[in-house]
Amino acid sequence: MLRTRLRGVTFTDIVVWLIGLIIFVGMIWGSIATIRLGKYSASTWTDLIVTGLALGGVYALIALGYTLVYGILRMINFAHSEVFMSGAFTATFAATGLMNIGWWDRMPILSLLIVLAVAALVSATVAFLVERIAYRPLRNAPRLVPLITAIGASFFLQYTFRGLYGSGLKGYPEMAIFKGEVVFFGIRFFKTQLVVIIGAILMMLILYSIVQYTKIGKAMRAVSEDKDTAALMGIDVDRTISTTFVLGGASAGIAGILYLILFPVAHFFMGFIPGLKAFTSAVLGGIGNVPGAFLGGIILGLLESVGPSLFLDGLGIPAAYQLKDAIAFTVLVFILIFRPSGILGERLTETKA
């Protein structure tokens, strides 16, 4: 048994494993060193963990769009980060408008619902249009082709919104009811973080039940299993795919608002990094798998917020927080190389992966 397994191991595998091992040992070493140094108190760690959870919730929601689309089309919707941006950026204007007419403080719940609706609507529309224009005509083209259109669509959207709304930063007004902190079980939460965590969990549950228990969800799962057979069973494949994009887009729009609650500044480039990280989450959890996206998002959020202090501080790297994105991307690279099927994903055949 062992011998047959060993025969498949090539020189490149060994190199890759070695690199992985070095990074892993470095991580452990750094963690031990940090903890021994005792630079951070327990409450700092819990703060970091809470931050990570909130961030992870947002990533999970964006990741959902990648996962749904990948599940159904086996393609990475590169433009999804811009779908997220479009909703969030547009909703900022709605929020400012509501602020100006005084609803923002007087009727916070209603205003929040309006802003969420605007974001979801815009993102869903953008996602729908991208699918219609850039992906649908190329569904049977070689694999490289839709990927390139996706990159093109992503840039087109980024700079279109830059042209529409300007290249500057746009502040998202804070809500009075979200100011301050709450303490649960001795753990301190900012109210914003709590709202984001709850909102993300709620959205995940809604989306999961849509995919799992409704008719359209059933159709989506059927199409992702086998397009042709699904079509033979009377499922309108094009429509199902459009619905998937709309659903993913709407959740990205809502994720956009949650993101703005955490980081209240919108700009045309805001989608790129969260998008990439959400993609990482989707792959981490197992792309095509809805609970996996949630799990991946939370893990990545935690790694990103706790990681720099835990792994890198101990190694004596100055200003470790600068490298938090690098940690996320390293996770991305390594998960794709070592286990492209992710934590919860089934083992994909090579043609699918």
Binding site: T10, T12, V15, V16, I19, M75, I76, F93, T96, G97, I133, A134, P137, L138, A141, P142, R143, L144, V145, P146, L147, I148, T149, I151, G152, A153, S154, F155, F156, L157, Q158, Y159, T160, R162, G163, L164, Y165, G166, L276, F279, I317, P318, A319, A320, Q322, L323, D325, A326, F329, T330, L332, V333, L336, I337, P340, E350, A353
Partner: protein, 553 residues
């Protein structure tokens, strides 16, 4: 009574005219119309901005009318109504904009834009004028379709050249002013801004005349070797004297174009030949530039080398980093490969930017005082001198790429691109083949980086961003993946032309993005396609036509 089929096709035409109007609305709100309004095609008659918001409607109408096979009168009716439909989005913008201040949201919905859209009129007369102009424009589409296809083509070509000439006025005049007698002739065509009306008419007449010029049938034989040498020789001569022909103003632009040609030739091997989509390509450019910087700058290095001494190190390090990137991603295909390379590119950038590596890499401040290449006593530092350095490298790299293409290795790359499993089954070692592709691509990019560093005598992490990779990818796709002349075409159009149009800078990536999508939709093989690629992308048609041929036999 109007017959239903006509109504049906009318609806189709209205829909496409509306889409055209929507595009026009987008162009207006994004700010392109206003920005380009200051540039005229024909002085005081038509501005580029006006073309931008009228052309989409015209084009949408023309394309949809062409599919309609109706009689003359109905075509004219259809084109008339299409004009009204097509103007609706912009009319809506004007009406809403008159009531609400849209500027709080859409920064470009300014009074200046409304003035352009209404042709300087007040609201209601302006709306009327806008509709009338749109109708006139779409009517020309209807009229054009009444002509024979030869006339249609001639007219379209004529107006296209008219537009290009007007757009490129500054460029053309700067070049021709260096060539005494030519300047007089050319100046006759051009006004202070764009073409003169008389010049425009004349130019149109010339182009149409040329289109009808009795032309000898193209020789059925592929160009014989002597003709090919003549062509190659003249291209070489032009390239050799390009800075002298175009003048000093263009040297900087030429350098940039050459830099991207070098990178494009490298990425062409990775993406075009081997089919490995690498989105972190800028990393190798950065590695080349930074190696040059670290080895030659006295800032970071007690014993700075000269450019030529550092060059081999930079080349080797670039190649090694190509292999290092290549090793882990050997098993990945398609989208995952693209994402991993993108991740790598970002990691490299973040590491360079971090304080951690600052003592070695200079952090955000970059590296200054990088050595310039010297030949004997001559330091290559002016843009023209660097152009020749670039040119020398381009010649070498083109030769290598050209020879590689039909070599055993090149054919292995293409086999892997087309079907990896089959290629491996046929005995191609995918490990070395892929690694060689990454290494070669990285090498070319690294070389480009070294000259870039030497040209600016400094490198900054901010000039090594993801957008560079996108530039290279876009030029490759425009020219045609896998095609060497395609790289030149792509670089000239995408890197050269934007530098000449200052206004364009802001919309560069918007246009690139749209271009990537449009190319993939309508012409995936690129402007100057490589033969094999073309067959691959049009496989279905090819198979169909051969099977039809087989059936008829």
């Amino acid at each position: 009574m109007v017959c239903p089929p006509f109504l049906l096709s009318l609806r189709k035409i209205w829909r496409s005219a509306l889409i055209g109007g929507g595009v026009a609305l987008l162009l207006a709100l994004v700010g392109m119309v206003e920005t380009f309004h200051s540039r005229s095609v024909i002085n005081n008659v038509v501005s580029v901005g006006q073309v931008l918001f009228l052309f989409p409607v015209w084009y949408a109408t023309y394309v949809s009318l062409r599919q309609m096979s109706e009689e003359r009168k109905k075509v004219m009716i259809a084109s008339f109504t299409a004009g009204i439909a097509g103007s609706l989005p912009l009319v809506l913008l004007l009406l809403i904009g008159a009531g609400i201040n849209l500027r709080a949201m859409f920064v470009n919905a300014s009074p200046a834009l409304y003035k352009i859209l209404t042709f300087g009129q007040n609201l209601w007369p302006g709306v009327l004028v806008l509709i009338v102009v749109n109708v006139l424009v779409t009517l020309t589409a209807g009229l054009l379709l009444q002509l024979s296809s030869r006339w249609q083509r001639a007219l379209i070509q004529g107006f296209l050249w008219l537009f290009i000439a007007g757009l490129m006025r500054d460029l053309i005049l700067t070049v021709t002013n260096r060539w005494g007698p030519l300047a007089g002739v050319v100046q006759f065509f051009f006004a202070a801004n764009g073409l003169t009306p008389l010049g425009a008419v004349l130019l149109l007449a010339i182009v149409i005349g040329l289109a009808f010029w009795p032309r000898r049938q193209a020789e059925s034989q592929p160009a014989n070797s002597r003709a090919r040498w003549i062509v190659l020789g003249s291209i070489a001569l032009i390239l050799l004297f390009l800075p002298q022909i175009l003048g000093p103003f263009f040297s900087e632009i030429l350098d940039n174009v050459m830099m991207y040609i070098l990178m494009g030739l490298g990425l062409n091997i990775v993406v075009g030949y081997a089919g490995l989509l690498d989105l972190g390509y800028v990393a190798f450019f950065a590695i080349g530039a930074y190696t040059m910087g670290i080895l030659t700058s006295p800032e970071l290095n007690a014993h700075p080398l000269t450019y030529w001494q550092a060059l081999p190190f930079a080349m080797v390090i670039a190649m090694i980093s190509g292999v290092i990137l290549g090793l882990p991603v050997l098993k990945l295909r398609g989208d995952y490969l693209a994402i991993v390379t993108l991740g790598f590119g970002e990691i490299v950038r973040l590491l360079v930017l971090s304080d951690w590596l600052r003592p070695w890499l200079g952090g955000t401040q970059g590296i200054q005082l990088i050595a310039q290449p010297k030949i004997g006593n001559l330091t290559l530092q002016s843009q023209v001198q660097l152009y020749y350095l670039f040119l020398a490298w381009v010649v070498v790299v083109v030769f290598i790429a050209w020879r590689l293409k039909d070599s055993r290795l090149g054919r292995s790359w293409m086999a892997l691109r087309e079907d990896e499993d089959v290629a491996r089954a046929m005995g191609i070692n995918h490990v070395t083949t892929k690694l060689l592709a990454f290494a070669t691509g990285a090498l070319f990019s690294g070389i480009s980086g070294t000259i870039f560093a030497a040209k600016l005598t400094s490198v900054y992490p901010h000039s090594m961003n993801f957008l560079v990779s996108i530039n290279v990818l876009a030029l490759l796709i425009l020219g045609g993946m896998g095609s060497i002349p395609g790289v030149f075409v792509g670089a000239l159009v995408l890197i050269g032309a934007p530098e000449l149009l200052r206004e364009f800078a802001e919309y560069r990536y918007l246009v690139y993005g749209a271009l990537l999508v449009a190319m993939m939709l309508y012409r995936p093989e690129g402007l100057w396609p490589e033969e094999r690629r073309k067959l691959e992308l049009h496989e279905e048609e090819f198979v169909e036509s051969t099977s039809v041929a087989a059936e008829t036999e």
